[in-house]
């Protein structure tokens, strides 16, 4: 006499479905999830081994970090997506970049009143290095750029504008289109630009040049020097280098102006 267990029918149905799928050569998703779970465990221990041998390499060698990031990108993996990811937890890459993100935000915020939210990658690099102190891990410009890319996720207007072989880092959601970018690039050489320069180099009409410059003034990205000899000059504080400018206290300023 046969005794049927409860659910025998369901089991039989499942077996039939499995058989059908196996016939067509496809594996069920839930089986693959189990497979993935196993592979994940193996991968985790491989990564642990790698970390025990080479964690220092990532910490100390910025060139290695670049290679690492590029390899990850090639295979479709983002090691910085989550602090809870294996890469972050075991290699410590996460904390490195997330902390850098915090430092970048703080530097940009501190200087916003002066440069309107636009800063050269060089200056940002200098200031971040200074903030980190002598004994901290080294940080390269590639590191900064990757950290900035991650910051973009938080919708705060972070972006990078290519200018003169390097970049300007934007940290406010100011609307900057191609015209603005081109004017910024023109201003890069001297730190300022004038309407006639724009007309000469870019062959724009006066109205177009003025419109763009006015927008930069409004956004606080440019300062107007209407007393410049000849014609007015539009200066971009983001492009002032440390050496040619210095911060002045109100007392000093009072003594300087006649």
């Amino acid at each position: 006499m046969h005794r049927r267990g409860v659910g025998a029918g369901a089991i039989a149905k499942k077996k039939l479905a499995e058989a059908k799928y196996k016939e067509r050569g496809t594996v069920l998703a839930e089986d693959q999830i189990v497979q993935m779970s196993k592979q994940l465990e193996t991968f985790k221990s491989n990564l642990e081994e790698f970390a025990s041998k080479h964690k220092q390499e990532i910490r100390k060698n910025s060139e290695f970090r670049v290679q690492f990031q590029e390899m990850c990108a090639t295979i479709g993996v983002d090691p910085l997506a989550s602090g809870k990811g294996f890469w972050s937890e075991m290699l410590g890459v996460g904390d490195f970049y997330y902390e850098l993100g915090v430092q970048i935000v703080e530097v940009c915020l501190a200087l916003k009143h002066r440069n309107g939210g636009l800063i050269t990658l060089d200056e940002l690099h200098q200031r971040v290095l200074k903030g980190r102190g002598k004994f901290a891990q080294d940080v390269s410009q590639d590191d900064l750029m990757r950290a900035i890319k991650k910051l973009k996720v938080m919708g705060n207007g972070f972006g990078m504008i290519p200018v003169g072989g390097s970049y300007l880092v934007q940290s406010v959601p100011a609307e900057l289109n191609m015209d603005h970018t081109v004017v910024l690039q023109l201003a890069e050489k001297k730190g300022y630009v004038s309407v006639s320069e724009i007309k000469d180099s870019l062959k724009w009409e006066k109205e177009r040049a003025c419109h763009i410059l006015d927008h930069l003034l409004k956004e606080g990205l440019a300062w107007l020097d209407s007393q410049a000899p000849g014609e007015a000059q539009y200066w971009l504080p983001a492009l002032f280098s440390e050496i040619t400018s210095r911060d002045v206290t109100p007392e000093e300023a009072n003594q300087m102006t006649p």
Binding site: Y21, Q67, C72, G76, L80, S82, G83, F86, Y98, T120
Partner: protein, 382 residues
Amino acid sequence: MDRFSWSNGLLEINETLVIQQRGVRLYDGDDKAKLDVGVVLLSTHRLIWRDVKNHECCIAMPLSQIILFEEQAAGIGKSAKIVIHLHAAPANKEPGPYQHSKYSFIKLSFKEHGQIEFYRRLTEEMTQKRWENTPFSQPISTGTGSQAGRTRAVGIVGIERKIEEKRKETDKNISEAFEDLSKLMVKAKEMVELSRSIANKIKDKQGDITEDETIRFKSYLLSMGIANPVTRDTYGSGTHYHMQLAKQLGDMLQAPLEERGGMMALTEVYCLVNRARGMELLSPEDLVNACKMFESLKLPLRLRVFDSGVMVVQLQSHSEEEMIASALDSVSDKGSLTAEEFAKLLGLSVLLCKERLLLAEKMGHLCRDDSVEGLRFYPNRF
């Protein structure tokens, strides 16, 4: 640049390393030298430069070649430099990267700074001229006699060997690291492909996936850093991790939000939370994904995105009408306000005050005066 000779970079007897600086590019006069960025080393006797990537590429020049040197300040987009003017190369100079040069000066460009200290040390060495007291013999181009060879005391060989060994070991470590990394990446790639296959099956409904399994799958993706391809789900790309995080944030942000008038920019939250954690920091994505879960978890916070793209966390109790009413009050009170003035008034960030004014404007309560002097808001009397 024709004053340099190829070198193995090893220090001679009585030669001491004074300072080294990486991130230095050489210039032949005003032109960039056909070399990459490298490390410059100053010893008591020579100026040495080595390519960072290719350690075999190493050149040196005796300090006696230097007539004078000066600093060249950094410019916009240009690194600080030290310009070094040189005597003509001696006839018996060993071959180097340049046969001849039209310039009699070179430049060191300090792309990673360090020029100030380097200049100081160079000045010291050029003043003391220690190489004159303890010369080592210059090799002549053709080996015409044993006395032309370099003299080396036995003791120094050990130190040189150690330096060389260390360098080789570093190189070996790096290449081993790369090898291991490549192997790891191959395995990671398998995982990526497997996850894509699973995602496709979920989409095509091949098989019986429970919600539990879906959540598990998402956490695997999170661990590997693979973007979530499955879009139909209850919690966005949230996982248990993000749910926990959302609850933690709910507790942690109450007080700071109240201090700041009920609203904080997401970047501010990011900095606040990560500074508090100190380690095991949150990624920007972790934060965004956690905040997206506030509503479904019935927490009293909301993630909000303004038209400008600015993302904020705000207290749910913080009603829109209140914000607009207060903005209108303040503006009417003062006649007109800019975002900066409003920020000073409320003690809040300029960014968020601007958003409030824009919101009030959108609702028709304020109108703007947009001039070169700034954006100013007035009560809307139309």
